[in-house]
Amino acid sequence: MEKKILEIRHLRKVYGKNKVAVDDLSLDVCAGDIYGFIGQNGAGKTTTLRAVTGILGFDAGDILIDGISVKDDPVLCKSVTAYIPDNPDLYEFLTGIQYLNFLGDMYGVEKTVRQERIAKYADMFRISGDLGSLVSAYSHGMKQKLALIGALMHAPKLIVLDEPFVGLDPEAAFKLKQVFREMCDAGSAIFFSTHVLDVAEKLCNKIAIIKGGKLIASGNIDDVRGDTSLEDVFMEVLENDAR
């Protein structure tokens, strides 16, 4: 049986008095999964991802990471999770290396392991020479790469990413996919939102479609897609709802 890394149970989040952002959403992400989360703008993707990472409270349901409830022990859950938001607003007053060291300290990454991983990923994403510069001097893509290195540094069991491919150059996007696969082979799980259906189709083994805060479809990509393309399925879901 597959080991569940992330279990979302009947999640419900309401903003204000009555704006239901996510309603009765349940899904499981297992070790080795690259799980794509797709939906229109405002469907509830970012709300779900933020709730999973423990930075947004929710009104009902529960979220378990590696069997531990985010409600009961948020700090422990966060220690095995990495989160990269859609807009990499990093600490601009730190240099790249200071930022990575800060994360290393926060996640308790041992010094030699830290150095080794920083060197590996910084070389891979070609920003080694820029680590001494202030983050404020980085382009959007470079910030995205730095955020990725920071997320990978503590070898998390679960990586949660909001639109990870936005702003990355083609080479970095290719390498990121490689890293995703390596991490999953090592037993981690990836849960990410995307609007790029092609990427989801080629990269993910599982997919979930969310609309108006409700889960419309989820499961193995072949089961969800059937004989058509993911794009066709997605459009069909939208059209069915419009009728």
Partner: protein, 524 residues
């Protein structure tokens, strides 16, 4: 269609005052927070009003009512100048919305004008809080004269313009000069601190020289002070005291001319400075070095200190009280109790009373230094990064209180040592001064972050909005002023007890706040 600067101003004020969050949000929590903030601010405002009225009454009862408006103009102008200088160019340059605004079909002149106007309105609000009650008291005491009211209104409304123009010009010049430098923020902060210390030193020297020049004549002393603190206020004085009507018009003309000149001049360089600031051509090739590993809490504290020193607006607004305390401590080196000509048998008694008053005043200055009351707000759009880390909310909040505690402790203890030595203090005063420095440093640090936790402002476009115009800052600064002044004044009559009571209350509140952090939760 309204002028474009009006639209820009409207958007800036909406952001500055958080109007939309209060009005449009259907989240009951937001409504409760807004109501709570209004109640707290009203309470602080009422007490402040009480103080202004008392001060005005004291002025009028000494027959100095006529000097009050010019004194208000003079002191307000100095404070507006210092506040503007402390924004470190944040009012004009390096704002997060620069790209949006720069892409709009609006002239640079209108952009600069709208930004200056928003700063003017904030400063005017501050001047009005002091001027309106003081003027009412003055007229109640001396009788109402219509033309004088007109002159006072004109003086009050134009008085922030010149200090804003000069302060913002100096900040702009500093921003332009340091734009290409790697440590530009630190350099800007150091320059602004030097300037601030220089101004304070000059003010002190003016006060002393005015005192010696005018002897015991209080009227002449205040006239001298008004002129020396802020020279253009001389024209306000001419009109209101000597009846020379053109004086107020000259004052108005000088202020407005400075404002116009500022807008015209800065709009020429506006784009260049912004571009230079954003290019940040200070990259260096990085070579891998040995790294140091620390505990999570230490890493958080280190980050907080880096944040504090990365922003001139944050640093200068945050540590003003500490700087003043250090200046006062060093000024004490030139003070000798024996030079006051007090009979030897009375020295011990007088030094003890002065000592208690000084300890109360120290609490006031410590309360004025509260970077922690903006520390959480400054996380802004990157707060998700911090809240997602595997540390408790308590650790995050406490780490944000540490810089405030450390800075206040250092300045407070330094002041305490020198003050107690110069006051020939006994053991009781020594212990009281040290305890007050420690308790108030902890109280200010934890109180600041507690208020910021309750009233965060994450959606700012420039740091000044989070640092200077926040509910926590207003509450902390005014509350510490009220408590400090009250304790110092009461200490003059009742000695040790008011200070002890103040310390005890602060200690209880500090412990309560510390314990409340056990249940804190930080969400985006």
């Amino acid at each position: 269609m309204p002028a474009k600067w009006k639209l820009l101003l409207k958007v800036q004020l909406i952001g500055l005052l958080n109007i939309n969050k209060a009005r449009k949000s259907d989240d009951p929590k937001e409504k409760r927070k807004t109501t709570g903030a209004i109640i707290l601010l009203s309470f602080v405002g009422l007490i402040f009003l009480f103080y202004v009225v008392l001060m005005a009454l004291a002025f009028c009862s000494q027959g100095l009512g006529d000097k009050l408006p010019a004194m208000i103009v003079s002191l307000s102008s100095l404070i507006v100048f210092i506040f503007t200088l402390f924004q470190g160019g944040a009012m004009l340059f390096g704002t997060k919305d620069y790209d949006i605004v720069a892409a709009l079909p609006v002239s640079k002149r209108e952009v600069v004008f709208s930004r200056m106007l928003s700063s003017y309105l904030v400063n005017l609000a501050f001047v009005l809080i002091v001027a309106v009650p003081a003027t009412v008291v003055q007229f109640a005491y001396n009788g109402f004269i219509l033309w004088k009211l007109g002159a006072i209104i004109l003086a009050v409304f134009v008085c922030p313009v010149l200090p804003i123009a000069v302060g913002a010009s100096l900040s702009a010049a500093l921003s332009a000069l340091t734009a290409g430098m790697r440590y530009k923020n630190l350099i800007q902060s150091i320059f602004a601190i030097i300037l601030f210390v220089g101004i304070m030193a000059l003010s002190f020297s003016f006060s002393f020289s005015a005192n010696s020049e005018t002897g015991a004549d209080m009227g002449a002393l205040y006239t001298m002070l008004v002129r020396k603190i802020y020279l253009p206020a001389i024209f306000v004085q001419m009109t209101l005291e000597e009846g020379i009507v053109w004086g107020i018009f000259v004052f108005t003309a000088i202020s407005l001319a400075a404002g116009i000149l500022f807008v015209l001049l800065i709009s020429v360089f506006y784009e260049k400075i912004n571009t230079a600031l954003r290019n940040r051509g200070a990259r260096r090739a990085y070579k891998s070095k040995d790294i140091r590993q620390t505990k999570p809490f230490a890493a958080l504290v280190k980050k907080e200190f880096k944040r504090l020193f990365s922003s001139p607006a944050y640093l200068l607004n945050g540590i003003t009280g500490s700087i003043l305390l250090v200046i006062a401590a060093f000024a004490l080196l030139f003070f000798d109790l024996n030079d006051l000509g007090i009979p030897t048998e009375q020295i011990q008694e007088i030094s003890r009373t002065f000592g208690y008053i000084g300890v109360g005043a120290m609490a006031l200055f410590i309360g004025m230094s509260c970077p922690s009351c903006a520390a959480l707000s400054l996380e802004g759009s990157s707060r998700g990064l911090l809240f997602a880390m595997p540390v408790s909310a308590k650790s995050i909040l406490l780490s944000k209180a540490v810089p405030t505690f450390v800075i206040n402790c250092i300045s407070g203890l330094l002041f305490s040592v020198l003050f107690c030595i110069k006051m020939q203090a006994d053991a009781v005063l020594f212990i009281l001064a040290f305890a007050t420095a420690l308790i108030f440093s902890a109280f200010t640090a934890l109180g600041g972050i507690f208020l910021n936790y309750k009233f965060p402002k994450y959606d700012w476009t420039n740091e000044t909005q989070a640092v200077k115009n926040s509910v926590p800052l207003i509450i902390v600064v005014f509350a510490s002023m009220i408590v400090g002044i009250a304790a110092a004044a009461l200490a003059a009559f009742f000695g040790l007890w008011p200070i002890l009571a103040m310390d005890a209350i602060a200690l209880v509140l500090t412990v309560a706040i510390f314990c409340s952090f056990n249940n804190a939760k930080l969400y985006v």
